[in-house]
């Protein structure tokens, strides 16, 4: 029943190929899955006491948002699968560039997410060293224990 409704909304008539129907189902499943990924990872960041676990969930959160942004740039071409935004051979006429426009996906979100991944790994390395210094200072990575705890180690590195 769900399948019927989705396909009817997509094309107003019964689709001829199985792939048309599966495409709309796949796009909706993937979107809902990414939203749930974002929510679960955010729950981990907010609720878990261990700093390393917070870091792991932050990595998952960043990756989910990145893949969601790339997914917005994806494209549905009926009857064929879209191609990456890369010319396969050196074009000899302007018409060959026009054929790429008909089949390729949107390159702009990919370029921006490439930048985001680089900045993400840069921030990850800095956060890792901060967690390491926190452990050397307090002797634990659990934030609740560090709040209750006694004096920090005097001879911390």
């Amino acid at each position: 029943m769900f399948l019927e409704r989705v396909s009817w909304r997509a094309s107003k008539r019964r689709p001829r190929y199985m792939s048309d129907l599966l495409a709309s189902l796949a796009f909706r499943t993937a979107m809902i899955a990414f939203v749930f990924n974002i929510a679960i990872a955010l729950y981990g960041v907010l609720s878990r006491p261990s700093l390393v676990k917070k870091f792991l969930c932050l990595v998952a959160f960043t990756d989910s948002i990145n893949i969601f942004a790339v997914f917005i740039g994806f494209r549905y071409t009926p009857g064929a699968y879209p191609s990456p935004p890369i010319l396969e051979a050196i074009p000899t006429s302007p018409a060959e560039v026009e054929t790429l426009i008909n089949t390729s996906v949107d390159p702009l979100p990919q370029a921006m997410i490439l930048t985001a991944i680089v900045i993400g790994i840069a921030c990850s390395i800095f956060l890792l060293t901060l967690i390491l210094m926190y452990y050397r200072h307090y002797g634990t990575t659990n934030i609740h224990e560090a709040e209750e705890g006694e004096e920090p180690h005097a001879e911390a590195l």
Binding site: M18, A30, I40, K53, L56, Y81, I86, Y135
Partner: protein, 87 residues
């Protein structure tokens, strides 16, 4: 209705997105931080499969070394230097 070759990428998109949700749930739930790091790595594998199917080969080439190589390695070192189990 005809079944054609094009259903394969869409089936893989559904499969790997659902499994990535399961992996995120396991990462949040796992108490052993070493195993949680390995689960994050598995989630990275599913995400790189999704990047490949979303037609972003540049991002696949970036994401595989970052999420399967560099970040888990640094996290292993961090877990080894701090504590392994979360309380």
């Amino acid at each position: 209705m005809q079944i054609d070759v094009l259903i394969i990428p869409y089936v893989v998109i559904i499969y790997s997105s659902l499994l990535s949700v399961f992996m995120t749930y396991l990462v949040v739930r796992e108490r052993d931080l070493l195993i949680a790091t390995i689960l994050t790595l598995t989630q990275g594998v599913f995400y790189s499969l999704l990047y490949l199917l979303l037609m972003a080969p540049d991002l696949v080439l970036t994401y595989i070394p970052v999420s399967v190589g560099v970040t888990p390695l640094l996290l292993f070192l961090l877990v080894k230097k701090t504590e392994r189990f979360e309380r």
